[in-house]
């Protein structure tokens, strides 16, 4: 207990004596982690937006006109046999017209004089959960196109592909930036601690001289790195939460109506915990790199 007290006392004394350098390090860690976590938050929301949107994806196969009902039945059976197809619903020309009228509401008189057979009959095909992504949808669409009565297949292809690409780019940027920021943070933590170690060179030499274990000398520096990493990460999470609050209260007001329905979520508790743990690990790693210098003063 006394030993732990002594270690903590030495750690805090080190931090106090190099207060400015320590505060600067904590701020730099916080800014770096804020950038990384902001990318994580954006990726998280874009991914869940994509998943939400993919859940609603339906494939519509438009048929050539005037196909006899027995052929429709046979075609439906064959479509159901395609891997990935969950359900198939036939929409006749009349049903399509009725649907359009319901969508137009009070303006349905625009359709007056138009025959229902102008609209082609179609199949609304719902896909299984794991087939609702751009790659798998393409597989289903290719098989659907092999049926000669099917004239055209639509599934919002461009949207899915563009959005998937966007998410992929954001995720890639997150990890590239994350890698660069991690290297920078390790360098900064190690440098700050090396300053502390240099300023305590005499003390380290004397401790070696009077028989201190290497761990007795190194642990306060590890604690210092750990505190820097943890405080930096905590500051980043608090800042991100504040920015998130500002975003929700101001930016979402100007968003388009359909976007308002989409829930913009904060990072889950587990992810926040991972970030804090990441800060701790980073701090420990930086202090480990710096503590190698202690060995130089062991004569």
């Amino acid at each position: 207990m006394s030993s732990l007290y002594s270690l903590l006392t030495r750690s805090f004394r080190n931090m106090k004596e190099n207060l400015l350098a320590n505060l600067a390090t904590i701020c730099i860690i916080a800014i770096s982690m804020l950038i990384f976590s902001a990318f994580s938050l954006i990726t998280l929301n874009l991914t869940s937006f994509l998943q939400l949107w993919e859940k609603k994806i339906e494939v519509i196969a438009y048929l050539k006109k005037k196909i006899p009902p027995p052929e429709v039945e046979g075609l439906m059976r064959n479509i159901r046999l395609i891997r990935g197809v969950d359900a198939v619903k036939y929409v006749s020309s009349t049903e399509a017209m009725a649907f359009m009228e319901s969508k137009l509401g009070s303006q349905k008189n625009l359709l007056e004089g138009i025959q229902s057979d102008v609209l082609p009959p179609s199949f609304e095909i719902r896909l299984k959960q794991d087939y609702r992504n751009s790659t798998k949808i393409k597989e289903v669409v290719l098989q659907l196109k092999e049926f000669s009565p099917i004239d055209e297949v639509q599934y919002g292809q461009e949207w899915v592909e563009t959005f998937s690409g966007l998410v992929h780019i954001v995720r890639l940027m997150q990890w590239i930036l994350g890698g660069l920021l991690t290297a920078a943070m390790t360098f900064i933590i190690a440098n700050t601690l090396q300053m502390t170690i240099s300023s305590r060179r005499e003390e380290i030499e004397v401790m070696h001289l009077v028989g201190a274990r290497p761990s007795f000398i190194q642990i306060p520096f590890y604690i210092e790195g750990l505190i820097q990493g943890l405080l930096g990460a905590a500051l980043a999470m608090v800042s991100l939460q504040l920015l998130y609050g500002v975003f929700l209260s101001h930016v979402t007001l100007s968003m388009a109506g359909w976007l308002k329905k989409f829930p913009i979520t904060f990072l889950p508790h587990e992810t926040v915990a991972w970030f804090l743990l990441g800060g701790v690990v980073l701090g420990l790693f930086g202090s480990f790199v710096a503590s190698l210098k202690i060995l130089k003063y062991s004569g």
């Binding site: 006394s2 002594s6 005499e202 004397v206 401790m207 070696h208 009077v210 028989g211 201190a212 274990r213």
Partner: protein, 221 residues
Amino acid sequence: MIHVSHVSKTYPSQVSALSDVSLEISPGDFTYVAGPSGSGKTTLLRILFGAERPTSGEAVVNGIHITEKGLGTTYPLRRTMGIIFEEPKLLRDRSVGENIALSLEVTGHFGKKMREKVSQVLAEVGLQAREKDSILYLSAGEQQRTAIARALVHDPPLLLADEPTGNLDLRTTEDVLKIIGHLHEKGTTILFATHDMSLIQRYPHRTVYLEAGKIVGNVRT
């Protein structure tokens, strides 16, 4: 206590500091290692407290073997001894008491027992009134006495002293030697490196003479 067998030390610059030195020191001995500057006194002591490794040969100190492979870690060896230098090597941002207590803290001693031991050893070196004072306010002699107190606070059986009176005036040197003499009377083994032949004449003990890294004399009183 100390067994030095055919120890040689050549530095990377090819300077030979010690050449085939063999030496035996029994528990309770007081031994001077004497010789002019550059004779190898400090190198011998540095090997004995694990700061240098011999190029060849072997030294055994308090049962710990020091060979050309060196020590994996120095702390078990250093806990068996006290070391003092010409420069006291004290921490200027700490008080006298804190400097001495450091030697106990590193071995896991804290609290009341530690404070009692610090007071006791301060009384032995005549500095009980200066416990709370900053090192900066001490004279050179008082600083050296603080260094001796730090070296002895954990009751080591061996004291290595590398020119501890080199920076002190005659009167202060006498004070320091009296303290070391008392320790010897209490049974501590002393290995004292000095170039001051008058000091050896005033306080005669066994003396090993070094010259250009070789033992050229071993006089027992």
